[in-house]
Structure formats: C-alpha cells, structure tokens
C-alpha cells in the first residue's frame, strides 16, 4: 500500500523552564516553534531577547518552514533544539 509522506515532525525544545515535546507541521514556519518556547518561558514581551538553537548555532531565519530545516539539517523525529536567553549588554 502506498504510504503518504509524514507531514509532521516531533521536536523537543529544551528551555529554561519546562521542555516542549510536540509534533509540528512541516509547512509551518519555524517561528511557530519559537513562539511556543517563548510562551513556555513567559518571555512574550521580550521576543528579541531569546534565541532558538540547534547544535549550538542560532536558527536565525524563523520565517522558513520547519520542513526546510528538516531537509537542510536532516532533522528526524526527536530532534532536540534549545531555547536560550540572549545576552543584553548595554
């Protein structure tokens, strides 16, 4: 029987509060993951003071789809990201 390709991926996001372990649609922008992590840490008012990272590199283009990162970085179910505060040096 022909199988439909999976249209979701399970991602784990480690934050400074609770961790996120959820399925995300591949056609959604990565910003969707960022926003969920932002809510988890209660940082909604300080959006620019956080970063989403994979293998210690900041994922900067959040408007790209999750599917784009799956292809480019070989993400698989259970891939782990990190959500960290960015230093504010003034």
């Amino acid at each position: 029987m022909l199988q439909h390709p999976k249209d979701e991926i399970r991602l784990i996001v480690v934050t400074t509060a609770g961790d996120i372990d959820d399925e995300f649609k591949l056609d959604r922008p990565l910003e969707h993951v960022f926003d969920k992590a932002l809510r988890e840490v209660g940082g909604e008012g300080d959006r620019d003071q956080f970063a989403l990272e994979y293998h210690d590199a900041v994922l900067s283009n959040l408007s790209r789809t999750i599917g784009h990162f799956v292809k480019e970085l070989d993400w698989t179910d259970g891939t782990q990201l990190e959500f960290v505060p960015k230093p504010v040096v003034v």
């Binding site: 400074t16 230093p87 040096v89």
Partner: protein, 142 residues
C-alpha cells in the same frame, strides 16, 4: 524565607540539563563568620581557546535588589581572587565582562555589576540565576 534560603533555592533549582551541558559544577561555600553565601561555578570558554574559569557569585542580604556580587577566582583555589583570574580586557576580550572597570564587573542582567554599578536604574526583577549563567556562557563562547 530569608535571603539565604532564597539563594539556596535558586541554586538547588538550576535545571540539571544546563548544568550538565556546560559542566558548571556548582558548589556552595558559606564562609564561617561572614554573612554571605558563595556559589562557585566552573565555566569553559570557546572564545578563550578552551580556558576554564571559575565564577564566584556572592549572595548577601540585599542580593535580590543589588544583584549577585561577581568575581572570577582561581578554579583550583576558589579562595584566591584577582584580576589574573578574569577574562582578559584586551584581544580577545569577552563582551560584557569588564575586568578593568573600577570595580571589575560583569554587565549582564542578574549580576551586581549590572544592577548596582553600571545600570542602577535597571531593577533585578527576579532575574534568574540560570538566565545569568546562560548569558555568560553565551558571551564566553561567541
């Protein structure tokens, strides 16, 4: 709870994932006869070619307002402090760490240097120890 219990609670509450990832090895020292609680944290720095540093965050009765008093100490002998244990001021320096300031201090939220020396108009607002350590780790690695 008193200030000391609050300090212990936030240290004990450090998320094990981050402690393990960055090999912080937090240790608490309560010097006899002094009304302080010291947290010693080990920090590796990619920016400084893998140098291992030891940060002492000193909690005092006013820490929730004034910030945690910072100093870099000898990783092998935390009782020994001095500028030689701080990241260098010159190239490669570390953003936000100011060893040549009087007093030497760290310009990161949650540290005494930020809230009581450089930006006393900016309140602590419950800035967490974990956030401070992660931001410090960021600048040490970038």
């Amino acid at each position: 709870m008193g200030w000391r219990e609050d300090a212990r609670a936030e240290i004990d509450g450090l998320k094990p994932y981050w402690v393990s990832k960055h090999c912080w090895s937090p240790r608490v020292i309560e010097p006899e006869g002094e009304d302080v609680l010291d947290l010693i944290v080990t920090l590796g720095s990619k920016r400084l070619a893998g140098r291992i540093l030891a940060l002492r965050l000193r909690y005092q009765a006013d820490w929730q307002i004034a910030g945690r008093r910072e100093a870099f100490v000898d990783p092998d002998d935390p009782a020994s402090e001095g500028l030689e244990h701080w990241p260098p001021a010159g190239d490669p320096n570390v953003r936000g760490i100011n060893p040549m300031h009087d007093p030497p201090c760290i310009c990161l939220r949650g540290a005494w240097g930020y809230h009581s020396v450089l930006h006393p108009d900016r309140p602590m607002d419950n800035r967490s120890l974990l956030d401070l350590l992660l931001e410090l780790q960021w600048v040490l690695n970038e």
